[in-house]
């Protein structure tokens, strides 16, 4: 039988690798009887979605622009590099 510590480790690892059949079975059994680990598993999913939303919200935020000084610097560097043989 898994304890909550082991179950939480497997839940986290399931985000990084495929669990073995045996691990999946053991985890399912544990989640069936353990409300707290079900909560934990739900939280991991929620965090995943939230992180994705957060990344998207920055990516799609048209009010965020690269500073003009950086653009100018890149333009100059590109020109300098291109004029070299």
């Amino acid at each position: 039988m898994l304890d909550c510590r082991q179950a939480s480790q497997l839940i986290s690892q399931s985000l990084d690798r495929s669990l073995t059949l045996r691990e999946r079975f053991a985890l399912k059994l544990h989640l069936f009887i353990c409300e707290f680990c079900r909560q934990f598993s739900q939280h991991m999913q929620t965090m995943r979605v939230a992180i994705k939303r957060m990344t998207n919200s920055i990516e799609n935020d048209n009010t965020i622009e690269m500073p003009a000084t950086a653009k100018k610097r890149i333009t100059n560097l590109v020109e300098a590099n291109n004029s070299q043989p």
Binding site: H43, R48, I51, N60, L77, N82
Partner: protein, 184 residues
Amino acid sequence: MTTANMHDWLNEHGDFLYRFALARLRDPHQAEDVVQETFLAAIKSPNFAEQSAPRTWLTGILKHKIIDVMRKNVREISASDLMSDEDANMDEFFDETGHWAEPPLAWDMPEGALEQKQFLGVLQTCMDKLPAKLAQLFLMRDVHETNNEEICKELNISTTNAWVMLYRARMGLRKCLEINWLGA
């Protein structure tokens, strides 16, 4: 001719690339630097004139530049910080029988909660509170969605090591969210 092209690309795609990098690195200066590196790499590329989808192409280069910076960030974390990460006591989360010391609470997520600026603010604060190395690894895996093999190769750590560190990062983040947003 080519610099003129590149100038158009900077105007058209520069802000997009900057935001893409900022979303992953969370550091404006590093975001500027990787966009700069991307354009310099692009102009030196022999096949850049043939690109029909410059944004996709530039984003592909940018992704590699972002990984380079993330790897450098992890390497620059001091040895003392590394030690404290290793020593971080995970036992605080569980009692001696392996049960939750403080059981996870039911998160009451109202409709649209994940879109709220307030929630994203707390999430950011909690990410900032993670130990530096864990935060970088977490950014690589869960934000940049780098696959595990690549992370291990880039950081020269074992897969087990990566799983343990990601677990610690997620445990810390979950607890912080529970206390600062959902528990409030």
